[in-house]
Subunit: 320 residues, 2 copies
């Protein structure tokens, strides 16, 4: 038994012949070591749990893929739990995961606003991804909404646009606030303000985007760029502008915040976007969790840069 174990794990000192005999016997018998027994002994499961809180998975799925990318390729398995924002379900999953002796837990939030910690005195490391924990001592990995918005508006400014509107989601969201803040900062650095009638708050829909486009053009006919709070709004604004006889990008440039990769597929003009890199958020969250499992301390709240993806809708206008 012991000799076979050593041969299979490459441990200890064995005569090459012995090792070879063990390996060929294992091969012949179709032997597959029982990870349950092995992990019982090691005292950990080489498994992590991912608890997703958003219903449709629009945000937590890309995070999941990033987590799996980092962990699954190695020896660590990822148990997926669909918490659906329901504390009862989350509690059920927590008990199940802790009973399975997971090495750690990743909580992929449902909103952009911070959420309460998933438990007190959880005996394994926890990392919050996409949605931060309200406890600043917890390790959280989130996109830099403000920086992403700042970069988007800088990009518009650097391509010569001066009259820039901002159409976004509900004002209660922290992310909406941060994106507006980043946009205004970039404008004010150039001595500019957001185009009349000011920041347009609405819901996260194409329909709102279309509606806002007409509000914007009526209030400010000289508008030459719009920064949108998400992808759906951007699509709506694109179509609305076109219906109003404005051409994108020659007449009005357009850029949106990216929650999902549909910006490139827009039938009329592929829309530039600020990619939140949720895949990377998942990857980094997994790395932080691995670090914590190996005993490194908590990192607190970490903001990951967004990535500017320039497409046709902010291409250089023809009069430059």
């Amino acid at each position: 038994m012991a000799t076979a174990s050593k041969a299979l794990n490459g441990a200890g000192t064995l005569r090459p012949g012995t090792r070879a005999r063990v390996l060929s016997a294992a091969e012949e018998l179709g032997f597959v070591p029982n990870a349950l027994a092995r992990n019982l002994l090691r005292g950990r499961s080489f498994t992590v749990g991912l608890i997703a809180s958003d219903i449709v998975g629009r945000f937590s799925i890309p995070v999941l893929l990033g987590v799996e990318d980092t962990l699954g390729a190695g020896q660590i398995a990822v148990i997926f739990c669909d918490g659906r924002g329901d504390p009862i379900r989350e509690g059920h999953y927590m008990r199940s995961l802790l009973s399975r002796r997971v090495d750690g837990i990743i909580v992929a939030g449902g909103q952009t606003d911070p959420r309460p910690p998933i438990g007190t005195a959880v005996p394994v490391p926890v990392v919050y991804a996409w949605t931060a924990s309200t406890d600043p001592k917890d390790t959280s990995v989130v996109p830099d909404h403000e920086g992403g918005a700042y970069g988007a508006v800088r990009h518009l400014l650097m391509t010569g646009r001066r009259t820039i509107g901002h159409v976004t989601g509900p004002s209660q969201f922290r992310s909406v606030e941060l994106r507006a803040k980043g946009a205004l900062k970039a404008l004010s650095e150039e001595g500019l303000e957001v185009a009349l009638p000011g920041v347009l708050y609405g819901d996260w829909s194409e329909a709102w985007g279309r509606q806002a486009a007409s509000v914007l053009v009526r209030a400010c006919p000289e508008i030459d760029a719009v920064f949108c709070g998400n992808d759906e709004i951007a699509r709506g604004v694109a179509d609305g502008l076109r219906d109003l006889g404005r051409t994108v990008p020659d007449d009005v440039a357009l850029i949106g915040f990216d929650n999902w990769e549909i910006m490139a597929s827009h039938a009329r003009v592929p829309i530039s976007s600020v990619d939140m890199n949720l895949h990377e958020v998942g990857r980094v969250a997994a790395q932080r969790l691995l670090g914590a499992i190996e005993g490194q301390g908590a990192h607190g709240l970490e903001h990951l840069p967004c990535q500017l993806v320039v497409r046709q809708s902010t291409g250089l206008a023809s009069h430059f």
Copy 2:
């Protein structure tokens, strides 16, 4: 030890007082049973593996959510593996899952075309979801593409449309073939044929939908309905028709096959669709797997009905 175990598991016969003392002690000590040890003894892990093959998860993610819905609420955990259609990665995950003594494996395919079985003589039950196995003896759960298409065209016919076009994806796909077959069947039952210039094959994009709309209207100006092979094509056709001065649905009705829930969000007219119920495909696949784990035999290939979702784009035309 034995008494405590019985109290915690509600097994055997215990005096109520003893049970209560055990439970309160467990509570006080924060005792959480070690599932690794328990499962080692039981000989199974109460875990299943889900191997996803499609890159972006457009199809396998809804399946995953359905699987998790059925299994996660119970005592069975779901390990998510992102195979990415790479046989090497799939092999890695298979070894890992079998070593962990999963009770079964679900393979959520990347394409609509059948795929080769994931292994020979896999020692646990395997169920294929969304993409069938090429081996008819394997258990596979897939949407009924043909029936869904048939129902879509029946719906158009029953609301009075007679000149119906079909714009779809690449002709090599089995699903494209099946959807066209279902559509033609519904038409021929009424003595009709697909509108000129016949089935329009292209790629799965909005751009192709726009282009096809103009081909269709030029070849057949009296067109009064279009059945589209997927959601993106449907969006493109909707916009293309509008640009050609046709109104949806009064002039031309529109319905698409649903891969993703974006049909309802279309800014101009919410588009009717054939929902493939991938969530249900996942749920049923999980149920079949549970059945197989409990010793029920294989089910072979199972087609799940699609669901017609009537929205504005096929609303009754105003002249009815």
